[in-house]
Symmetry: C2
Subunit: 161 residues, 2 copies
Amino acid sequence: MNKMKKTILILIRVLSIGATVSAAIVMATGHENTNILSIPTQANYSDTPAFKYFLIANIIGSVYGFTVCFLPQESSLLRLVLISDVVMSVVLTSSLSAAMAIAELGKKGNSHAGWQPICGQFHNYCDHVAAALAAAFIALIFYTSLIFHSIHTLLYPMSLL
Amino acid sequence: MNKMKKTILILIRVLSIGATVSAAIVMATGHENTNILSIPTQANYSDTPAFKYFLIANIIGSVYGFTVCFLPQESSLLRLVLISDVVMSVVLTSSLSAAMAIAELGKKGNSHAGWQPICGQFHNYCDHVAAALAAAFIALIFYTSLIFHSIHTLLYPMSLL
């Protein structure tokens, strides 16, 4: 049972790395060229500070995830991993929320501020951003489950779950 | 020492309530009327979904803070409070990040997307938003210290800190 538990935990950790790596790659490759009023225009993640923050947070999340996989399974380290998992999930939540706020603006605009939606002109770019946000959201679900498991293990060390 | 520790914890909890209540009030009252090209225009938090989410998150944070103050100081409840503090701080982080992304756009705009800054026309409104964000940031610092204290207490129940 203990071996199965460890396998599931490593699987969740690997899936969370996969999700943050996917989010970073999809965001970084999401650029599109189009002509607006015959003027060549390009949309790129680097045009938006929130998307740059999102990319950096997901790269850090990926590197952190890899590092944790190679740590020995000791109780004292488990506490450190719990705290760093909490910090990492706060950083990922923060970057995801900021990117979502801008993505929502890109899709719907804000008529009060005079900000027009841009997804009508940049379909592929918006699809890329949406996919990156979805991947980061999945990573957050994995992180949340890892945190709750760590808290559970620290509170009830003898539990089989 | 134990009594002093409890007093400090209650003080931090009360300060975090003060910060979330301030953030909610300052955001909710931050509207401004001005004339742009002789057309009367109003800026209001309710024009922006991210600011509405920010207001709701801070109201929930305030109500939650009040509720926790009246809970008995039992060990089993401390675990529940730790988990709900983590959830609450994730919600506050998320709303703060989304609001900050939009506030940054309001201040600097995004020339690539054709979104002009609006803070030149709405000084008071932008000052209100900045103050609300600062209050929410302070609330988050208090929540973080409460979470780390709860983790410490659960891991080392006999510690005086």
